[in-house]
């Protein structure tokens, strides 16, 4: 495109510094209430799972307590692995016809040691357990929201109880 003959440009008077100077000449000085709002997108720091400095067995018992309060079920842990909890949670919600449909969401909770006295709890989605439902055909179009919602409830329960 003959960009040379384009007249598309930035309007100088619309730049923030220019406008502040414009207002100054009209007797309005910058003040605390009349200064640029900072909406700097503060870097969102993401963690893998949630951190804990509590004693490992305390962490695990807190998790069992939270699961119980949320009405979730869990498989008995293996004797050689106290730090993995296989959970099943019944999530009820209406389908398109408005009938309440229960789905059994499965999650695996695992405790990792990062360093001395620094542990990490990871929550991993482990599919749905629907008796008789067709085996998952597409393993790439599943909705993470029920899993995210249960993880949120669990984290809030742990935050509240701790």
């Amino acid at each position: 495109v003959g960009v040379a003959d384009s007249r598309i440009a930035i309007l100088p008077s619309s730049l923030p510094q220019y406008h502040l100077a414009y207002m100054q000449t009209h007797g309005v000085a910058m003040s605390k209430k009349l200064s640029p709002v900072s909406v700097k997108k503060s870097k969102i720091r993401w963690h893998f799972g949630i951190r804990s400095r509590s004693y490992p067995l305390d962490v695990v018992s807190e998790i069992y307590r939270a699961l119980k309060n949320l009405g979730a079920e869990w498989a008995r842990h293996r004797n050689d692995d106290l730090w993995t909890i296989n959970v099943r949670w019944r999530n009820e919600a209406p389908n398109d016809q408005g009938e309440m449909v229960a789905e059994l969401l499965k999650m695996r909770i695992q405790l990792y040691q990062l360093e001395q006295n620094n542990y990490l709890v990871d929550f991993k989605f482990d599919g749905f357990e629907n008796k008789g439902a067709a085996k998952r055909r597409h393993d790439d179009t599943f909705s993470a929201y029920p899993f995210l919602r249960f993880a949120t409830k669990l984290i809030l329960e742990l935050a509240v109880s701790s």
């Binding site: 969102i44 993401w46 963690h47 989605f125 790439d140 179009t141 929201y145 919602r149 809030l156 935050a159």
Partner: protein, 32 residues
């Protein structure tokens, strides 16, 4: 699962999953 520290009473959790042959990071913001 990825989480952020709770700010303004809001908790964010996220998980990465495959959608067809691309990767979507689904982030859910929930109030405490």
């Amino acid at each position: 699962l990825a989480t952020t520290s709770i700010r303004h009473n809001v908790l964010a959790v996220a998980s990465v999953s495959r959608y067809s042959s691309k990767y979507v990071t689904q982030i859910l913001y929930t109030p405490l």
